[in-house]
Symmetry: C2
Subunit: 192 residues, 2 copies
């Protein structure tokens, strides 16, 4: 997605060979018009797949997912990483590993909102080692829902997540794929 690659090139800050900071438009400050364009792009790629609902995870997945849901005219459910005042019963949960923190965290969704009648589009902001995406796939499976695919805003192609998911036969659509962050520079994979 050209508009996204240009935004990353002009505002992204390479923090290390592994981490790209895009707090100015995706992870802390949000650019709503760009989010709308991102939502419309996800809609274009998945509009013929019978998607009934979008599944994402708090917090950075919410804005892109909400805009995709707006364009596609469907609801958006966001998985919780922590207990909330009202998300207390009928939970479908999954464990998500953090390699950096060497911890496991439980993510949850209410079985009221993700069911066997759903065909889900999973959306998230980053795809790195894929643990969060695997957790959302696991929740979808427990609910008996179909998964049309996974929509990612930024995939780090040099990490394993993309490979892990595609090897399972999951369709992964990433709007920007970063081949490398070496030498402080963002190198994108060529548009396919």
């Amino acid at each position: 997605m050209k508009q996204l690659r240009e935004k990353i090139a002009s505002e992204g800050r390479v923090l290390s060979g592994e981490v790209l900071k895009v707090d100015s438009f995706l992870n802390h400050q949000i650019d709503p018009k760009l989010m709308q364009a991102i939502g419309e792009e996800f809609s274009r790629r998945f509009k013929n797949d019978g998607v009934t609902k979008i599944l994402t995870i708090e917090s950075s997945g919410i804005a892109p997912a909400a805009m995709a849901g707006l364009t596609m005219g469907i609801p958006v459910v966001f998985a919780r990483k922590r207990a909330s005042l009202t998300l207390t019963e009928g939970l479908i949960s999954s464990e998500v590993k953090s390699f950096t923190k060497q911890t496991v965290n439980t993510i949850s969704v209410s079985g009221d909102y993700v069911t066997a009648d759903d065909t889900l589009l999973i959306i998230d902001d980053f795809l790195a080692n894929g643990q969060a995406a695997l957790g959302l796939l696991d929740i979808s499976g427990q609910a008996g829902a179909k998964v049309a695919g996974i929509g990612i805003v930024i995939e780090k192609g040099f990490q394993n997540g993309g490979k892990l998911l595609r090897e399972q036969g999951v369709r992964v659509e990433s709007l920007a794929i970063i081949e490398s962050l070496a030498d402080g520079k963002v190198a994108f994979r060529e548009e396919s």
Copy 2:
């Protein structure tokens, strides 16, 4: 806001005399079209106030804030409640009390995105005892930013938050004000 009151009346579940569950469209599952209508309503109320940016807080504030930002053509910044991979420097922080949990939590925003040149519209999903709103006001003050006002989706009029904020001379615009949740029923304050 009539559309919102009708949605609360048909889908809201009164969990107790103090708590209303609206997980089906605001706090877990999100209704994007309703969020867009909410964003447009906030825009109508604040479009002549020179607002440069919307300030909200993860997670449930993000969708309504993003839609307001989309309508108003301005960026949205969401305060973090927990450390994030990239939000590590130049933090402006504030303490937020939780009366239920008897704890204090630190919320933070990057000084890169909230500055003395900004006129902020603070947006959040619920206004109950007002601690989160006070924290966002405190952050705004530390940044030297003006605050045009606070936009709330659902205010619980029987709790102190609204009074606390308005007594400080802050303009609070709530799209629905709940007078009472007694006897398992949602009673709205009359539209002013």
